[in-house]
Symmetry: C2
Subunit: 315 residues, 2 copies
């Protein structure tokens, strides 16, 4: 059936998760505004619990399970932020979490997931191995699989970030979010198109992992092929539900170079004094690369997360 | 005469500078609270204009000058944050700023000061050379010297950070701030002792630059001797006015190791997803090192700034 969520589902999700999530702040930077010639409003999901927007969706998915299901726990495969999010949301609800993680995941994400008491099974960094390991675990435990993005309640939960952003700003002309599996951008589009019908919703994607861009242009869901980008949260392929919502409600998908992702990330660190992971820098990179005309506009940007291995970089 | 400011001067300063400064947010971290067993409230002056609390004092000093003086501009010597702060405050008020900077100052600070249109004169990294170069410039231009910390209006301006912190939190048991020249801690003590007479005010200082600690213990102002610390904002010696206020109104000065400064800085970056400079990490380092008993207490910490050369560390 693959029912798709609409804004009433986002509203319901918001009520469900409100007391568990942070209502993250919206930051502005006059220095960056001057550089790009627009007014940018950054929704700081790097300050969300577990350091990423993913906590919203995971929380909503677990809290929407019937009691008979929730006692057997939840399971997922994830390269990191969804894993930590599901682990914490499960812990809060007193149910076990079984997580399949690629052995190549950043150390900080492995530690976080283990710290929330989840049971981790490592796998090869291929979609095939992730899915087969997950299948095994679900069979053994009776846990409910919570897909990182191709899940009705996850999408509804992710939509609450844009809902808050819109509530906390003046009428935005454009909203930008990164796209990987499509959970964030599909939820964002649902909220934006309902609350601000005149607002453009644009997805930004690394050129090195451009399956969403290619899928959008060909109107056919195409898989990632050897994706390679510093934005490690955006390596996955688009989900089915996500793609349907994107085709209907996203106005444009643009791709950006690795060079601009690093430049945008550095600009946000230096000018705004906040730590974001590379995936979060992709929308600003699109503006810096001239892919999104923003001159004089009010632009909302969702900073998706702040988790990265600082040990690799510093100290 | 060396008149000392009191809380009425801080209040006046706050009214004077209110529309130019950011009222910076107070952040908390449940992860760090768990580690230290206390409730910490971080006043985020890393988000202040020019990335440091120094903008408050510089702004107040310039706006307090009589019109006949202000037209000739302002001058100072500073290793960085005060320089940027004075440069921007002067620019806003349409008056020239003449800045003497040690040639060893971080690149990011030199660039910032130049970017605000100040005229920079480089000097050797000794107090003697800084002062003699400054004297020359003041003589040539008729500019008013604004000392980075040993200045009535600067101290009153810095006190506004603690005033806001106290206004925005429940009754704090302890307030911690780093000490270098003493501008921040003296302003902090004035606000805290007036608004919260029962609150302890504690200064934290790197063991490698412990002139304030030695001065406090001996009740005699002693100079820094070959100070060495990663906390580059805290290398300077205590000012005269600052020392008097510290002796009267600060309860304790504690010193911390370089190792703990790095650990505290990393903890704030990783857990709070915000960028602070090493000087800002010194108060949390004091807690981690067990120098300040905080168990079960409500503790305010002033994060002094967020300026550091990221290029040296990353990218």
């Amino acid at each position: 059936m693959n029912l798709l969520p609409d804004f009433s589902d986002v509203e319901k999700a918001h009520k469900t998760i409100q007391k568990y999530i942070h209502r993250t702040p919206v930051f502005t930077s006059s220095a960056i505004n001057k550089i790009v010639g627009a007014s940018l409003f950054f929704k700081c999901e790097n300050f969300q619990k577990v350091g990423a927007f993913k906590f919203r969706g995971a929380c909503n998915a677990i809290l929407s399970l019937p009691p008979g299901k929730i006692i057997h726990g939840v399971a997922t495969h994830s390269s990191g932020n969804h894993a930590a999010a599901l682990a914490l949301a499960a812990k809060i609800n007193g149910t076990p979490a079984y997580i399949v993680m690629p052995v190549t995941s950043p150390e900080i994400k492995k530690t976080a997931v283990a710290g929330y008491g989840a049971q981790i099974t490592f796998c090869k960094p291929t979609l095939q191995d992730r899915e087969s390991k997950l299948k095994e675990i679900v069979k053994q435990t009776g846990a409910t699989e919570i897909h990182p993005y191709d899940n009705f309640q996850v999408i509804a939960g992710q939509g609450t970030a844009a809902k808050e952003l819109i509530e906390d700003t003046d009428e935005l002309d454009i909203i930008l979010a990164p796209v990987g599996g499509g959970g964030l951008i599909s939820g964002t589009a649902i909220s934006a198109k309902y609350l601000l019908p005149g607002c453009s919703v644009i997805a930004a994607e690394p050129a090195g992992a451009d399956d969403a861009f290619r899928s959008f242009k060909s109107k056919k869901r195409l898989p990632s092929e050897n994706p390679k980008t510093i934005a490690d949260g955006l390596l996955t392929s688009l989900g089915e539900r996500n793609f349907k919502i994107i085709l209907n409600q996203v106005d444009e998908i643009v791709t950006v170079s690795e060079e601009k992702i690093v430049e945008a990330m550095r600009m946000i660190w230096e000018r705004m004094k906040i730590i974001i992971e590379p995936s979060s820098a992709v929308p600003l990179a699109a503006i810096l690369e001239g892919k999104v005309p923003v001159n004089g506009k009010k632009v909302g940007i969702i900073l998706s997360g702040g988790n990265l291995d600082l040990k690799k970089l510093l100290f």
